[in-house]
């Protein structure tokens, strides 16, 4: 097997809606090397969650995978029988969802839910409870044993997010998908959670797909960064390359905007003038052409293929053609 826990090749997805088809992901290539944290950045609606759900095979019912291949933990994800897929979830593969307010079952206590997900474990009930309490403690929830008796409605959004993180830590997964998990947290908690993720990687040799709006957080913990724009990977590469030598005009707009703001205060991506393209009718041009400051004739005519710039670093931009190394 390759050194990747996940290898996505040329993946395209379509949503069928009453207003017609939507194309949230097109020809996406992403690798998640074993033991690394890969960041996915992109504006809201760029397809980050869709990508995560595709890896979990939990896409909504109206989604169709129209092309591509995904190798996940050595298996052909798109052809895996449903039961085998379920066997991966919650053991070698785990996900923390974006919206903590609705991600927990409202009529089961935290403890019940944390016991439920350990159903495969041969440990005794007492051991499982101890393990759950321990996981809560690790995400900074005081008085963990008492909290296990309480229900989601009794916790704030930040607390619920930490509970979700604790639940995913019970598993010790080989690949953890974290979808905007720090959005609901304050700065101190965020630092704590980032620290946890790093620990998880060090301890468990696990990989993490870290989806975030927060470039500061991405710069801090990721090994690689994938930049998604309107359903396409416009650039990806090692974290220092992306932040120090961004090649795509979109990436440059993001990271060169104001370094101080990115590293500390901003929790949102910087605003770039222009509208996000409509995902219903995809132009044949470069997807960023309409907002690009350096747009050329060819950009409006042809969609650029990924150009390799350095080791593991590539971008889809006509400006880079010919500089290939």
């Amino acid at each position: 097997m390759s050194g990747n826990v996940a290898a996505i090749r040329d993946l395209s997805i379509r949503f069928d809606t009453q207003q017609g088809p939507v194309y949230p992901l097109r020809n996406v290539d992403v690798d998640v090397p074993r033991g690394q944290i890969v960041g996915i950045v992109g504006e809201s609606g760029s397809g980050k969650s869709t990508l995560a759900l595709a890896l979990m095979r939990l896409l909504p019912g109206n989604a169709v995978v129209t092309g591509g291949e995904v190798e996940l933990l050595g298996k052909d994800l798109l052809k895996l029988p449903a039961e085998e897929m379920r066997g991966l979830r919650g053991t070698r593969l785990a996900m923390i969802f974006q919206d903590p307010m609705t991600s927990l079952n409202p009529v089961r206590s935290i403890g019940q839910q944390m016991l439920d997900i350990q159903y495969r474990s041969p440990a005794s009930r007492a051991e499982k409870i101890a393990k759950a309490a321990d996981a809560l403690k690790r995400v900074g929830i005081p008085d963990a044993r008492e909290q296990l008796k309480r229900y989601p409605a009794e916790f704030s959004g930040g607390m619920r997010q930490r509970i979700c993180i604790a639940m995913s830590l019970l598993q010790k997964p080989e690949l953890l998908i974290a979808d905007e998990i720090t959005t609901a947290l304050d700065v101190t908690l965020e630092a704590q959670v980032l620290h946890l993720l790093r620990e998880l990687r060090a301890e468990l040799k696990g990989s993490i797909l870290f989806i975030s709006h927060n470039l500061g957080a991405v710069a801090e913990i990721c090994d690689r960064v994938v930049v998604l724009y309107a359903g396409e990977v416009v650039e990806q590469g090692p974290v220092f390359e992306i932040f120090d030598r961004p090649q795509h005009p979109y990436t440059r707009a993001l990271v060169e905007c104001d370094p101080a703001r990115i590293e500390t205060t901003t929790r949102e991506l910087p605003v770039i003038p222009g509208d996000v393209p409509n995902l219903r009718s995809i132009p044949r041009s470069c997807i960023f052409a309409a907002r690009c400051a350096e747009v050329m004739e060819v950009c409006r005519r042809d969609r650029p293929p990924p150009t390799v710039i350095g080791k593991g670093h590539s971008a889809r931009c006509h400006l880079l053609e010919g500089v290939e190394s």
Binding site: L88, G90, M95, F97, L104, V107, Y119
Partner: protein
């Protein structure tokens, strides 16, 4: 929680009081002399005088109302005009038959309807889903007395399998159960379809919620997700519905009891009304209203107990 329970019960009591006042005024509003209405035009003058005296009809209205309330608070619903037995006793004799009938009717409807709704939601557009959808529309719209009549025609008269009349021998539980089959079936039939549709709709909604996706993301088996994660939530609207249903069931029970000549509150009220036995009508109606009024707080409290979200807001 306790405060909430008290509030809900208080509301039920308020409903009972209001309906008592309405019931009392209804009798006052019937035009003409109440004694004449009860006894008929050809009753003798002294009989009328005796009845008027007995019912306290000569007292001023507020006094009558106060006596009325006072009596009811003591559990005294008056005296049957013909048999001279206390109405409370008569009502209590008949009440268990109605309660058993409703419980059996609703019970079998829930036992079949809820799993059917669940299945229809999970296997949407399957044969069973489409079949129940069609059958439901039919059964919901057929009144239970029509069902009752056809049941009698077929199972009792044509096949002779089931008894038609009464509630069975006292003390013989098997006989009573056999007598319960047709009335309970007639009463519950419409509710099977109704419950299955309601459960299906709320189940579909819940299965689309984010927390179900979370449960799946942890690899929980699907039957467990349905049972412990979805149905626990999808069942909640059904509980409220069932409480409201008690009202409809009580009135359907009137027909069903009359058709099967089964003792019960419904039949009691109908018979008493035919004979213009007003104290019994009053007692029967009041008991019915009280049952209905009590069902609401019970379901509210049950929901608060089952739903931590509701509990958190109390």
């Amino acid at each position: 929680m306790l405060l909430y329970a008290l509030q809900r019960t208080g509301l039920a009591i308020l409903i009972c009081i209001t309906s008592m006042v309405m019931l009392f005024s209804a009798l006052k509003l019937i035009p003409g002399d109440p004694a004449t209405i009860m006894l008929g035009a050809r009753a003798s003058a002294e009989m009328k005088a005796r009845i008027t005296e007995e019912l306290g009809l000569n007292d001023p209205i507020p006094v009558q109302l106060a006596t009325f309330f006072g009596r009811i608070l003591q559990g005294n619903l008056g005296t049957d005009m013909w048999s001279q037995r206390p109405v409370t006793q008569i009502v209590l004799d008949n009440l268990p038959y109605t309660l058993v009938l409703i419980a059996a009717g609703l019970g079998w409807a829930a036992l079949i309807g809820i799993p059917l709704g669940c299945y229809s939601a999970i296997r949407r557009n399957s044969f069973i889903d489409k079949f129940t959808a069609v059958i439901s529309v039919g059964t919901i719209s057929i009144p239970s007395f029509v069902v009752a009549i056809y049941l009698i025609l077929f199972f009792a008269i044509e096949l002779g399998w089931l008894p038609v009349i009464g509630a069975g021998e006292r003390g013989d539980y098997l006989d009573q159960a056999v007598h319960l089959i047709m009335p309970a079936f007639a009463l519950g039939l419409g509710w099977v379809g109704y419950l299955s549709r309601i459960v299906r709709a709320s189940m579909l909604e819940v299965m689309g919620e984010n927390h179900i996706r979370t449960a799946r993301a942890f690899g929980l088996p699907e039957y467990r997700i349905v049972k412990s994660y979805a149905l626990r939530i999808a069942i909640l609207p059904t509980i409220t519905l069932l409480a409201v249903a008690i009202g409809g069931l009580l009135s359907s029970a009137v027909f069903v009891e009359a058709i099967f000549a089964r003792p019960g509150i419904g039949k009691l009220i109908v018979d008493a009304a035919n004979m213009r036995n007003f104290p019994v009508v009053q007692g029967g109606v009041l008991t019915t209203v009280a049952l209905f009024a009590l069902a609401m707080p019970i379901s509210d409290i049950l929901i608060a107990w089952l739903d931590p979200r509701v509990r958190a807001t109390l």
